[in-house]
Chain length 502, copies 2
């Protein structure tokens, strides 16, 4: 098995995860690989969690500050949260146990734009990085690292860390080699243009070069990435996907989009996968993705000959598709480029590409402010992720969501968003199963009827009622009319009675 | 005087403003030069306003859709608003008469990120551009336009418009020639990297090339740019400036900034000018500005040998400094570059520069969400301008404001921002006369004591009281605790009693 560690110096550092965990001390700031259930270290998190339990049982403090690419999986964020092994987390998470600890106030979490996270590490906003823990597919003779199923902030963590622990995961296909394109923007003050002109351009190396003298441990693993399976599409997802395709057709009709030049960015989830399924039967050809993660639907589009290339930082594949990728990596690597997060989510490259972004949301308000993160303003779900990077720099930005959740108790369209992650200056098109609200070129009040038209019918009268009250409120000016005394009534009803309905 | 129109074909099109206004018909979408009181057309707005009055008096409809670079002046936005000559306005304004019409609900206004505005015109989000009306310093023999005191979206409007009206303003110094650097990002799908590596790089032409056959009128003018004079610095402005400099010194101490490598972006106003005055006596040398507008304080820094170069899209000079610029343009053009707004505010270039942004605000909430635009959530003041372009892409972003306004009736720190233009993911440092709150690397709750510490002392107990209530609210989760039933009490008190105080 240690054939995957070809560098002699590093081969000598092979040890067990428990031994390696001894390098991860209380108070350490740890930069870890891992992005949406892919490429996270499979052994160290459990070993660190065990160490934390031992330390706590012995009455000693133990907590580390954990920085990653984005979310990971139950055997990473989950076990660490369960063991109370963390004192701080950034830039994104989606684990139920961890989310619970954050919402209980037990764990400090900073929710950071993903394109900022590596930069902020480099700039020292999180202090020194003590240890980097990074999963790789193999280590070459020269000591170069071949990334596994994601890149994320690995380059930044490996550069910044005082010590490095590598996990070499036998489960990852050796045929992933060649998929990664590792390009490093020079440090300030010497930054230069990112030379990517086309989605599939390769401008870097297929490996990460490191200072091998910083490596203190190499741990061998053989464990799968763990993303959640997607649910089968329901009717609502398919209606939303249909409306999204109508919007795309509208762009073609307006002369802004050609059937053979659609560049997509897509958030993760069932609705985006329904959109991709819809694209299979559409007139769009030669589809490209400049996006954050490779999803099941993209592999289907590749298989169908509809997608020419996808650039991302990581996979977010269901278990079935992750296995498929492992079997057919040699084929897929012709179509896929995995980039560092600073590049996959780069405002510079995103704006250059002229892509159409599509991200989920928790709620939007009648003026087009978007809440991506907090239910009823206080309960954080996952985080903003890369949605801000893409929304702000897209040719056109869309947000998609079912119009209601929890059996109708929660409306996705509200009078005033209870947390704002994307402002009225950013969201261009909002899509539900009832249609799409095209807010481009409109003043705030002009957007309101369009937003109400895509709300769930049960909530339209309540939204009309609010807007009327705002328009007639003597305290309110008329550019963005509001009645601040009742702006959060939807959320207050939800808190008090379990439903936003009256 | 028509020596400034050297192209024979265009010389033949010289006419009066009233004659030229006949090309601007009801319903037209007009792209106009003008940015922060500089470079706006001086004659056509009044002529259009007069035409509107005549049409209205004759019982006919008349309204145009006006797009510019940013705000203009009383003899542009002011006269047009006064005459009800507009039906739509974008992307920014600051005129009191216009603001009144917008807040009365008489005028639709879309407040757009300035770096998006030209792109969105190019992408057709505002429909066809019927007429471009652009002020220039002179027209060359070849028919090239020499920009006057600002560039803004002129390139986009001149390209997109069906017809062009040029104003040649004798008041503008001929020595402005050479200051502009006109670089055009190719249209999609052929966009390429913007080749600017250093603040002062010149990568384009000193003139704008146009299709001269589209020019329907040339109007000669001789009238000054009109920016408001700045007020003398008061004690609060000087304290804020002092705190800003303390923050900069902290960055130097942290090893993130060198005394000879500070690149600034600065919003407009008295506090920014106080900051620049403070820089005169600081240890910072070789200061550079990659910013939106050239301000008085920058000329002082140049004169003092402290500023090496400033890149902007326009001037925002007081009348005194505008005259000084006109007299000494030959000297200043060695230090100044005027770029198209798409370049001055480009996320790509801003992120590359690693600048520190500094913008004003109306209010910030305890978690670091920023309201830049709406008093008490409904009364729009000016607009977001370029603050989002710079904040999102800066090395470090700061927001500066006195802690209170209107004699203490309004607190700049509130429980929940009543309009959010920059999210908790974006604002890094908030500065008042009481210090600076460094929010970097902090979870929401960790930011609260820092924000309360820079609030006006009169409001600190009320903010503590709110945060306690949020922490103890059984309905609230503890990542971002809130009590939505009282989140807007500060604003509701202001509406009801004229003060946020209890």
């Amino acid at each position: 098995m240690s054939e995957r560690v070809q560098n002699r110096e590093l081969k000598a550092k092979i040890m067990s995860a428990d031994e390696a965990a001894q390098f991860v001390n209380h108070g350490a700031t740890v930069g870890m690989s891992g992005f949406t259930g892919a490429a996270y270290p499979k052994a160290l998190p459990t070993a660190i969690a065990n160490r934390a339990k031992q330390e706590h049982d012995a009455g000693r403090e133990y907590g580390i500050r954990l920085l990653t690419g984005a979310s990971t999986a139950p055997d990473c964020d989950g076990v660490l949260a369960e063991a109370d092994a963390l004192s701080f987390r950034m830039p994104y998470q989606s684990d139920p146990v961890m989310r619970g600890k954050i919402n209980d106030g037990q764990l400090n979490y900073q929710d950071v734009h993903l394109s900022h996270s590596g930069l902020q590490v480099e700039q020292g906003f999180f202090g020194a990085i003590d240890v980097a823990i990074v999963e790789v597919t193999r280590i070459t003779e020269e000591g170069h690292l071949i990334p596994s199923s994601g890149v994320g902030n690995n380059v930044e963590y490996l550069e910044a860390a005082k010590q490095i622990i590598l996990e070499v995961n036998e489960w990852q296909s050796l045929n992933l080699e060649g998929m990664a394109d590792i390009y490093r923007v020079p440090y300030l003050p010497n930054r230069t243009p990112i030379p990517i002109i086309n989605v599939g351009d390769r401008v870097g190396t297929t490996y990460i070069e490191i200072d091998t003298t910083k490596v203190v441990a190499v741990v061998e693993t053989d464990a799968p990435d763990r993303n959640s399976p997607f649910k089968p599409f329901d009717e609502v997802s398919e209606q939303i996907a249909g409306n999204y395709l109508d919007f795309l057709e509208g762009e073609v009709a307006a002369g802004r989009l050609a059937y053979d030049h659609y560049i997509m960015q897509s958030g993760v989830g069932n609705v985006p996968n329904a959109v991709m399924a819809g694209l299979l039967d559409s007139k769009f050809e030669n589809i490209q993705a400049y996006t954050e993660v490779v999803q099941d639907g993209m592999l289907d589009l590749i298989d169908a000959g509809k997608m020419a290339v996808a650039s991302a930082t990581s996979f977010a594949l269901s278990p079935e598709y992750a296995e498929k990728m492992n079997r057919e990596a040699e084929k897929y690597r012709k179509y896929l480029v995995l980039r560092p997060l600073q590049i996959s989510n780069s405002p510079e490259v995103i704006r250059r590409m002229g892509l159409i972004s599509s991200n989920g949301m928790i709620e939007a308000d009648i003026y087009g402010n978007i809440n991506s993160t907090h239910v009823a303003g206080t309960r954080v779900m996952n985080g903003i992720g890369g949605s801000g990077d893409f929304t702000r720099n897209a040719f056109a930005s869309t947000f998609i969501s079912p119009s209601a959740a929890k059996g109708g108790a929660i409306s996705a369209i509200v009078p005033f968003a209870s947390h704002i992650d994307h402002t009225e200056h950013d969201a261009m098109v909002v899509i539900t199963e009832y249609g799409y609200a095209d807010l481009r070129g409109l003043a705030p009040k002009q957007r309101v009827p369009k937003m109400i038209a895509i709300a769930h019918p049960d909530y339209r009268p309540l939204l009309e009622e609010y807007f009327d009250r705002a328009l007639n409120n003597a305290d309110s000016f008329q550019h963005t009319p509001h009645d601040l005394t009742t702006a959060f009534d939807f959320h207050n009803r939800l808190n008090a009675a379990g439903t936003m309905q009256k």
